[in-house]
Amino acid sequence: MMPTLTRALLVAATLGCTALAGCGSMENRQSETAAAKKSDAAHHETAGETVDDSVVTAKVKAKLVDDPVTKAYQINVETFKGTVQLSGFVDSADAVSRAERLAKDVGGVKDVKNSLQVRKTEG
């Protein structure tokens, strides 16, 4: 028969180990969440930046629609932290460079990634 004191110590030690293990996994989870948030923040925008970027996108779209050459094409415009990405198909290299120049001219645009492609006509 185990003495009462020893049994009590064993129970306390078991409970302590369980609690520590729980704490450890909680800490891990918390640090994992913090790391995930940090990584998320590096790849996503803040609310303020999103508003600015949507304004930039709207202004670039308006500029392209107002231009006699680029208005003829369906050009996709996306903005991330002031960098505008243009994509879609146009009929000439001139239209590609014109769209890029127009986008660069818009206030708030820091850079333009031009992914526009010239559509090759058959025949």
């Binding site: 508003v51 600015d52 949507s54 304004v55 709207a58 202004k59 779209k61 308006a62 500029k63 629609v65 107002d66 818009v106 206030g107 708030g108």
Partner: protein, 139 residues
Amino acid sequence: MRLTVVCALAAAVIALGACTKHESAAEVQRDVAKAKAEGERNVADAQADAKEANADADRDVAKSIADHDQDDVAKAAHDANETADKGKAKIMIAQAEAAHAVAVEKCEALSGAPQKECKDDADKTLEQRKDAAKAEQDQ
């Protein structure tokens, strides 16, 4: 008769003297510095005005986006681009006028025909730069 001719000649000499008169180097330097400072102030004012107008226009675009009104977004964005072009043109004009004022003051160091030619060149450059600013606004 002789007196009239003498008076006319004297008047012509005085008038020509006034035309060809040039300022001292110190005067020119002082006036150039003054024109430069005033020009810089005007350019800074134009830049500040443009910045404020652009911020207002951008706020209108953001509001339209928040209201999910696509037609309004397109119009506000178009207006914002126009505001930006106008602001750029005003800054270009302020810069052109500032440079013109300095150039004209520098011409004061010359006299006679070279001074006139110098001022004519400055005027011509100003007009060219104003035309460029107008083209920027109209594009």
